[in-house]
Symmetry: C2
DNA sequence: ATCCCTCTAGAAGGAACGTTCTATCATGGC
DNA sequence: GCCATGATAGAACGTTCCTTCTAGAGGGAT
C-alpha cells in the first residue's frame, strides 16, 4: 500500500476513536508506521491536511457503502431496518468504536477549523444528494425524499453517539424502527393503493 | 455567582464550541475569570472533573428544557416540529454554535475517557426515561414511546451536527418534519379514530 | 560514476499542555 | 489581636504538542 494511503487510513481510525484535537502527529506516525518527516513530506498542510483527506476518503467510502446496503433489499422499508441492524451489529462487535469519523470530527471542530468544516459539508451534501435520488426512484416526491434523507443521516449519526455512550444496540435499533415506519407512511401516501 | 458555577458554565460553553481535548485549563481560566489554582481548588480531579460536572449540569438543564418545550403545545405532533424549529432558529442566531455539549463530547471521548462516557450515559438515560413517560401519557405504548424517544434524541443530536456542518437550518427542519410525521402515524395506530 | 530527485528518518525548536506547588488574601471564631 | 480556614493567584515543572530542519538512503537517467 502506498505510504500516503497508510497515513490516511491510520488517521481515519484515530479520528473515529478520539477525534481531531486529541490525535497527535507522533501518534499518527506510530499508528501508520511512517515517520513524522514522511507525513509532512506527503501532506504539506500537516495534521489538518491529513484529516482533510481522511474525511474526504471516508465520506466517499460511506457513500458507496450506504448505496450498496440500501440497494441490497427490494423493499426500501426493509432496507432501512437492515442498515440500522447491520450498524448495530458492527458497532457492538468492534467494541463500540465509532463507525463514522465525519460526524465525530464535525461535532468537534466545526467552529474552530473552517477548512475541515467545509470538507465535511461537501461530504454530507454528497450523501444527501445521492440519498435523495435513491428515494425519488423509490417513489417519493423530491421534497419528501430530501427531508427523509436528512432525517435518516441525522438519525444514523445521532444513534451512533447514543449507542457508543450507552454501549447498547438499542438506540440504533429503535431509530431504525421509527425511520422505517416513517418511510412506510411516506410511501403509502405517495403511491396509494 | 459562585466561582465553581462560573467555571462550570465557562467549561460548558467551551465544550460546545471545541470539545474536550481542544479545551485547555489555561483557556478555561481566562474564560471563567478564575485563575488556574482556583480551578484545581474547586475541582480536585482537574480538567476531567470540570467536564464531568459540566455534562451533568447541562444534561439536567436540557431535560427541563425539553419537557418544557414539548409541553408547550397541546398537540404532541406540533410539539415536535416546534422543538426542531426553535432549535433551528437558535442555532442560526448563535452563529451555528453547537447547542448540546453532551453529544459533542460523547462523540469525541467515548473510547478514551471512561468516566466521561459513563456520565454521558447517565444523562442520556435520564432523557430517554423522561421522554418515554411523556409519550406514554400521550397515548403511545411503552415500547413505541421508548423507540420514538430514542429516534427523537438521535435525530436531534445528528441534526445539530449536520446543521452546524452545513450552516443551514434545513437538516433540523427536515428531521423535525419527518419525526413529527412519524409520531402522528404512531398516535393514529395507538388510538384509532 | 555522478547527478538528481523522491522519500525516509528522527532530532531540534519553541509553544502550549495539565498539574502541582508555594505564597498571599479574606474572613469568621475565639 | 490572633489563628484557622477556604479561596485566590500565578510561577514552575515536566511532558507533549505541531512543525521545521538536516542528513542520508534508494533508484533512474545521463
Amino acid at each position: 500500500m502506498r505510504t500516503d494511503q497508510r497515513i490516511t487510513t491510520a488517521m481515519t481510525e484515530l479520528l473515529r476513536r478520539q477525534g481531531y484535537a486529541a490525535t497527535g502527529i507522533q501518534q499518527l506516525a506510530e499508528a501508520s508506521g511512517a515517520p513524522v518527516g514522511s507525513i509532512y513530506h506527503h501532506f504539506k498542510g500537516g495534521k489538518r491536511a491529513v484529516a482533510h483527506r481522511a474525511l474526504e476518503e471516508s465520506g466517499a467510502a460511506y457513500l458507496e457503502l450506504l448505496v450498496l446496503l440500501l440497494g441490497r433489499y427490494d423493499d426500501p422499508v426493509a432496507g432501512i431496518e437492515g442498515v440500522f441492524a447491520d450498524a448495530a451489529e458492527t458497532i457492538e462487535s468492534t467494541g463500540w468504536a465509532n463507525l463514522c469519523p465525519v460526524g465525530t470530527v464535525l461535532g468537534e471542530v466545526a467552529d474552530v477549523e473552517p477548512e475541515l468544516r467545509a470538507a465535511g459539508d461537501r461530504v454530507i451534501a454528497s450523501w444527501i444528494e445521492a440519498g435523495t435520488e435513491h428515494y425519488e426512484r423509490c417513489g417519493l416526491s423530491g421534497p419528501d425524499a430530501r427531508s427523509f434523507v436528512y432525517a435518516l443521516v441525522a438519525g444514523l449519526e445521532g444513534a451512533f453517539i447514543l449507542a457508543r455512550a450507552q454501549r447498547s444496540r438499542e438506540p440504533l435499533l429503535a431509530a431504525g424502527r421509527v425511520l422505517a415506519g416513517s418511510l412506510a407512511a411516506l410511501l403509502a401516501t405517495a403511491r396509494p393503493g
